[in-house]
Symmetry: C2
Subunit: 353 residues, 2 copies
């Protein structure tokens, strides 16, 4: 039996407590300052209000002030926040994590320097740690197509635990593996993080075709816009693999769960797709951000902003060509400069010719 | 202005008459013996009954008996039948096509020899031709994510014209290109045909998760089975690329319109997905074939039967390993031996480990 401490009590972090507890492990779920009501609810009734499900026996909920107690003696220390919370998680985990613990992150995304250099989030997390401590723990992450609620209701889910150290990955995979939670391991840590981060870019694009249909009043017509979505998805996959190669992942990783698989599931719906649908309808993105979806966490938009924003400096430095990543560049214009829907088809797939 | 003769008056062949006629070309649409009523309808009212749309001026419909007249002097000779009709098309085109014509096929699929050797359909088509005549025409095909009705109603569609001869491809692409019909060209003829044929295999698998939900009475639940579908899709993409490499296509073609793009659109719905949904619900496939969907053209099922059936002899000959293509092999068991739904997750992605 292992003890797992998780910082962050969102739906994904909480969903993962099901396979863990069903395997006989104990989970200490620590809410951030944003999770106060979630923790109160779990403490009082056992129910996670956003998942609308009761957590299993073996899960203990803690408020942030009790984090030290929760992490004391844990075997595994998880970062369960989203990409907006990674600095917060880094600051807290830097003091909560102790030598010998296995750090496991579920946060997907990247950060960029001004010159366009991109860093995966476990690296960002690690940068908050004392360098000596950072060496005394193992670093891993969970990636792959995984809608939290589906894990929580025991629907088949296939993921990859990626990290630096195979032994730690095997240990962690064993803690989580059940007959519905299928776990592969890989030491292509960077490649799996690249896939997990860049697929979010293309999920936003997955809503555009639907938006266009709505704008035209054709959403209930016999013929929708699957051809449109499929072409955008294929260009997304081309760019995802280009990112993989550009940033140093193994190209094959683009085909797997953290690449095309995660892009598929993220394209099927959710907040980023919804934001894209508004833009497809003709709403300037600033209006979506400041009004229609004000306050809604949009990881896809953040990915476009961060990764798309790195493309210009990378181009100026001659690392990529101006014609590379036409879809990501266009989405950046949508997000940052309210560009209207005008898909640059002729730039896709190396140029229409 | 060019004259295009098409053998077959199904919805895809007919949809392609819209971009052609809007570019000022003339189309002679020749029905097969199965299209008799379609041709009568177009001749009388201009309406294609299955598309439920009027064809443009510039389309002339012919019954099969008038095929010779229709093909006389054509610049382009198209095979517009589906994979079940390729022998029929080969027999007829062998006499209708004249030296100097450009042959363009829209038929997707493969055929297998007893030892597992697989052939793309344009090769099969060509095998009916006098070898001298075969050399005096150019051979090309249209592939990529293209739901016929969406093309017909002018929704953006991005496709690849693949063939042996770049000059012919450029000529053909020019005939079809409009502001909604986007055309790329490629001389990776084989690779594009492999993608177009193998994606049909995985479209069938795209229905299984939905069927499982229905069986469980959970189809209207908050949480569906997108994780399931995404993992199956990712394994499909892994196998599609493996087929590409095995059969001699360019690996990058797997990422493009005829690979992941076409797999995406085919997974979004249609007859093959519906057949998979029945199996997911627990119906033996033989019952689907002989009863629930009797008489319905299932190209995905044919692809599984032909390509999946080739895997055993290819394994025996040592060309592939027994652990290669676990999803395609499992689907073959479903189609040919009524295997129940029991997804072999642990065999995916090189084995769960």
């Amino acid at each position: 039996m292992a003890e797992i401490a998780i910082l962050g009590a969102g739906i994904m972090a909480t969903a993962l407590t099901y396979p863990l507890t069903e395997n006989g492990h104990k989970v200490r779920l620590v809410g951030t300052h944003l999770d106060r009501e979630i923790i109160e609810s779990i403490q009082k009734t056992g129910v996670h209000p956003n998942l609308d499900l009761k957590v299993n026996e073996g899960v203990t909920a803690y408020q942030l002030e009790e984090a030290e107690e929760a992490f004391a003696g844990a075997d595994v220390a998880m970062s369960g926040v989203n990409s907006f919370g990674v600095h917060f998680a880094g600051e807290h985990l830097a003091r909560l994590v102790k030598p010998g613990m296995k750090v496991l992150s579920i946060t997907k995304g990247m950060e960029a320097e001004e010159d366009g250099t991109l860093h995966m989030l476990p690296e960002v997390l690690k940068s908050f740690f004392d360098p000596e401590l950072a060496k005394q723990v193992s670093w891993s992450a969970i990636v792959g197509p995984s809608i939290a609620g589906e894990v929580a209701v025991h629907h088949d889910t296939a993921v990859v635990f990626a990290g630096d150290d195979q032994e730690s990955l095997d240990y962690l995979a064993d803690l989580f593996r059940t007959d519905y939670y299928h776990v592969w391991t890989s030491t292509d840590f960077l490649g799996h993080e690249i896939g997990a981060a860049t697929k979010n870019i293309y999920a936003f694009a997955a809503g555009l075709g639907e938006g266009l249909l709505i704008k035209e009043g054709k959403q209930d017509d016999r013929y929708v816009r699957f051809n449109y979505n499929a072409a955008v998805f294929a260009q997304g996959q081309v760019e995802l693999r280009q990112f993989m190669i550009l940033l140093g992942g193994i190209p094959e990783t683009a085909d797997g769960l953290a690449g095309v698989g995660d892009m598929f599931v993220t394209s099927m719906g959710g907040r980023n797709v919804r934001a894209g649908t508004y833009v497809g309808q003709g709403v300037p993105f600033s209006e979506v951000r400041d009004n229609l979806m004000k306050g809604v966490t949009l990881e896809g938009v953040r990915a476009i902003s961060v990764i798309g924003g790195a493309l210009q400096p990378l181009t100026e430095r001659g690392i990529i060509k101006p014609e590379d990543f036409p879809l990501c560049r266009y989405l950046y214009e949508v997000i940052e400069h309210d560009a209207p829907l005008d898909m640059p088809w002729h730039k896709f797939f190396g140029g229409e010719k």
